[in-house]
Symmetry: C2
Subunit: 239 residues, 2 copies
DNA sequence: GCCGATTTGTCCGTATGTATC
DNA sequence: CGATACATACGGACAAATCGG
């Protein structure tokens, strides 16, 4: 992302998070931002639009652009943007270790197609990983990747970061991720793999990820122990 | 919303949902859309941007704009945009009835402030509602509204639709909603109020809603029976 | 491998409308 | 009423990626 509007977006976002522009205050006007960043109206507006859709500010006609973001009180694990497990973990000040339980090539049949959204006959790589942090196995990831998109992937890479591998070595760009969050009963397998204490249900987040070609190349089902699950997002009317 | 870009957005979105532009196909090019809607490049692009951020399409440089939306398989209840309980229900083909359990004015103290994000001393209206559909009490809503924003609200209105009242009679515009999804153990009160069967945990969605003035005027905690909870959203990298 | 046509991505400059103060 | 500030749209320019001849 090397666009002017994106630089402005990041600068404003970071100032809001740092408290330079506090909750309920107004950020500088469009005209002031034009002056500061030496660009046009439209470029500033694009930055403000992204800032708005991420829930940081709200523009009010005739008045200004008001900060509506407050620092989160929840510690625990928080998701909501596209980020790797390690990014999320370090943001929470945690060390994650990953154990790869399954790593195999399969051909997509009807039942897998139903679960993952891939087509019957697609060549897939199936990976199951257990995420351990805070001294317990807390997340169970069951993934399928389109084999043609992850050529060269090994169990060793899966244990560190698949996304870093894909975006680095394979030059792929992860773009869109469609998510569904539900709750499910823990299965016998969940109980065997995770440290569930006496929880009998899990927070399940399904993620269908598309690359910059618009190809659906990954479906991951992340099964979280309930006390470590927290998801944040923003909805904006009209946009 | 009476803007050209928004009309284009809606037209394209509806065609995608209707299957006119199926999954993995390309929608008409920007040039074709300019021709069709008699507007400029930029206006079309704004419509495409919104379509992208809602997870319907993904633009690919040099090729076109590809549809990545698939019809959801999940029945049950689905949330994800800003909509009223009744909108959501009718989308799922259900009749909802609402029972108002609590309706009172309170002054925000430290513990309420902690829970809701309002300031100590704010005058609030506290409402508790139980949503019944499919023959069972399935959702327990605990809300607080800024009293100054909901003058004239009655228990009768709360039983039908508070948002319709606010957007209609009071001319308020609901704009941004910051959401957090977690899982919690059911309390004795939950068990008393909801038909929980043998579920001992709930999906809890907290909603902090801002109006067009950027005023945080509502916090609602919706406690869902797990088997009727399903949340969908889209994350886009870069935007 | 090159070139030109097509398509999306970013940005500029301008004009007009609407809401607030 | 005028100044300020956000909202929408126009028209033009060039960059970057893709594809076919």
């Amino acid at each position: 992302m090397k666009a002017i509007y994106y630089d402005i977006y990041k600068a404003l976002r970071d100032k809001i998070i740092a408290g330079v522009y506090p909750y309920q205050s107004y950020i500088p006007s469009e005209l002031a931002l034009i002056d500061e960043y030496q660009c046009t109206h439209n470029t500033v507006r694009k930055a403000l639009q992204v800032l708005t859709m991420h829930g940081f500010v709200q523009p009010i006609r005739g008045k200004g652009v008001k900060v509506i973001w407050q620092p989160g009180k929840r510690t625990r694990f928080v998701l909501g943007d596209i980020e790797t497990m390690h990014e999320a973990a370090s943001r929470n000040g945690l060390e994650v270790s990953t154990q790869v339980r399954v790593f195999e090539r399969i051909v997509c049949d009807r039942s897998v197609a139903e679960l993952t959204g891939f087509r019957v006959g697609d060549e897939l790589v199936r990976v199951e990983r257990v995420r351990r942090f805070d001294g317990a196995n807390l997340i169970f990831d069951k993934s399928c990747f389109l084999a043609s998109c992850v050529e060269g992937l090994t169990p060793e890479i899966a244990a560190s970061s698949i996304f870093t591998f894909l975006e680095g070595e394979k030059g792929m760009t992860i773009t869109t991720s469609n998510r569904t969050i539900t709750m499910e009963y823990a299965t016998a397998e969940d109980r065997e793999v995770l440290d569930l204490l006496d929880f009998d249900m899990l927070a399940v987040m399904e993620n269908r990820t598309f690359n910059s070609e618009g190809i659906h190349f990954e479906t991951t089902q992340s099964r979280h122990r309930p006390d470590y699950f927290s998801f944040m997002t923003t909805a904006v009317r009209g946009y």
